[in-house]
Amino acid sequence: MRRTGVFVCHCGINIAGTVDVKKVAKELSTHPNVVHSEDYVYMCSDPGQNLISNAIKQKKLDSVVVACCSPTLHESTFRNCVKSAGVNPFHCEIANIREQCSWVHKEMEKATSKAIKITRSTVEKVTRNEPLEPISVPVTKRALVIGGGIAGIQASLDLANSGFEVVLVERSPSIGGHMIQLSETFPTLDCSQCILTPKMVEVAKHPKIKLMTYSEVQEVSGYVGNFRVKILKKPTYVDPDKCTLCDECTKVCPVVTENEFDLGLTGRRAIYIPFPQAIPASYTLDINSCPGLLPIACGKCADVCEPKAIDYDMKPKIIEMDFGAIIVATGYDLYGKENMAEYGYGKYPDVIDGLQFERLCSASGPTKGKILRPSDHKEPKEVVFIQCVGSRDPEMHCSYCSKICCMYTAKHAMLYKHHVPDGQAYIFYIDIRSGGKGYEEFVQRAVEEDSVLYLRGKVSKIFEERGKIRVWGVDTLSGKDIEIDADMVVLAMAMRPSKGAEELAKKLKIALDKDGFLAEAHPKLRPVESVTSGVFLAGAAQAPKDIPEAVAQASGAASKAIAILSQERLFHSPTVAKVNTNLCTGCGMCVSVCPYEALSLKDGKVEVKEVLCEGCGTCSATCLRAAIQVKNLTPRQVYDMINASLGG
């Protein structure tokens, strides 16, 4: 027989206003196994907790049920309370009679009756609870950061500067992400490359950071504290240690293909360095555009390479490593041009996107910092900027706001005016969202000092006529139709999660939100954690955000990861699956449904890897013989709860 104590909380009048708490306590006092039952105005207060401790000592209680608010609020309070009084914390359960009863009903009699049922059901559950101890596992003191943009760079540096080993994996040949493509940054007009390259160099030189570029995460197994990750290192066919960056190879390469770094505004060779400050500073041979690795097909680059750095026989490598925590910072892509046919993007060369405009403004860009339009390299005198292209359009495109476009469009118009003082910049907008330190002032500066013309309305059509791009729009403030013969049009395309984020999320067993961004564990209180413990999120992979926000989130994610890596051992909830080997026939049905690969067959019986098990119970509902059950929520307990809930 158990000796259970029931403690009914009034929560002021939150519970007592609709539930007759005295009656609940009285009814429960006659329930089997209950040897003590009382009510109190605030159980969670110190006197309330003392009431519980004293009752445990005086009545020799071995289990406790607290009928109060949702277990998400005070379960740990009461479990700690019973623990300090010498009772196993897993012998304490919460009956939720506030959120699921007193707050949603009005008739006292019915609400009281329901509260009694809920409390009885919880007493039945606790009667069969096992005393459990948290499962403890050692921690691998190394972090994996996926994505080498500003967020990944910041997270890696924070981790490494705290003394932890970091592996930074980036799929392209250099780190830097989209930030390295930008010209200037709002609201200070700092040169983006000037503020990013010192951080990139620091990553490259940091003794605690192992940089793996041109690499991808292939497989992830394990759990918080001990993830095992397979990383695919793609061959660059150039040995960075031997390469002297003499650039002779690109001079002889016969192939010209689109330069990704300039977003197609320039070309590059099949062997290339993405940009002069690339980290690692080395060349990559892109086999998709190279005529062939056989020297018989071409082989010109290897012929001219004096230090013999080019090796056509380089093979992909798979590197397997263990990590204690993972940070995902896979960034964003712009909404594809294939989706924006109405704006002639992809059809007219002088209709470009925001990132292409950044390259046009950039001192390192295709025009060496002169704003010249792509079609004829002439200086555009009338430029139309369009905001919310693909954003805030739930019917056709993305329903969300991409957040950074209002600011970067103001910046673009301003930069344009600085480059072409006699030109005119027009901005079509729906609303201006300039929340942020110094942001509103920046937009005002664009209007007042640089005479940027803001037009509130959407553009309906863009087409080419007599060498100009005609923009049809409307100014909803004056109610007038607007027609502009522009020389160039810049579209502030929506931000989207980067390509491959979905597959990566599957590998990491983390969730995506409705728009495909990585989902945080709680929108307000756990913004850098994913739903999988030990996997954290940073940067635009989680939601559209600007540089300061991405950096802040990266530092947040790093400190969350440090909280794990700085532990010697981690504790895992012990409410995991347990196999009754006498009943298990080794059919393996549970093994195939387990979402965490926590189950395996060994000698014809199922074995539970406790640290992997999250206790979901899918196995238990699948087993035909009730041979596998989750501790402290066994079918037997559920039957007893059903019985109690339905009135005995």
Partner: protein, 131 residues
């Protein structure tokens, strides 16, 4: 009898409480870890013990806290529903719903509709085992 998964539906019903949305007190909740852990036997057992209706509620498909538990629940529940209909139980008495942690109002509406639908059917006696 309402089987609510801990992460979405139970949290959703908590939200209904926090928002003080009112609904009939007829459904007694049991919080389970995942809708995927609701064995058909729990459902039959509840009817056997005299439940007039049984609701299983989990996270929206694709949003399961345990990645795919609610997909298993969905398949299993579809079979249970067919079986219950086959043995002559009014189909309204057994329902499955998807309620996220943010959908307090939806939970309220589901309970209201459920109670309204099964009230005219009277007490469930088909599967009830007399004591």
């Amino acid at each position: 009898m309402a089987f609510l998964c801990k992460w979405c539906s139970s949290a959703g019903s908590d939200l209904a409480g926090v928002s003080r949305m009112e609904y009939p007190p007829n459904a007694v909740p049991i919080t389970v870890m995942c809708s995927g852990s609701v064995s058909p036997l729990y459902i039959f057992n509840a009817f056997k013990r005299g439940a007039d209706g049984v609701l299983v509620s989990g996270c929206h498909p694709g949003d399961c806290h345990y990645i795919k538990g609610n997909y298993y629940a969905r398949r299993r529940i579809a079979l249970v529903k067919k079986l219950l209909e086959f043995i002559g139980l009014e189909p309204q008495r057994f329902q499955m719903s998807w309620v996220s942690a943010a959908e307090g109002l939806k939970y309220t509406q589901i309970i209201k509709d459920f109670v309204k639908e099964i009230k005219p059917l009277g007490p469930q006696t088909k599967l009830r085992r007399e004591k």
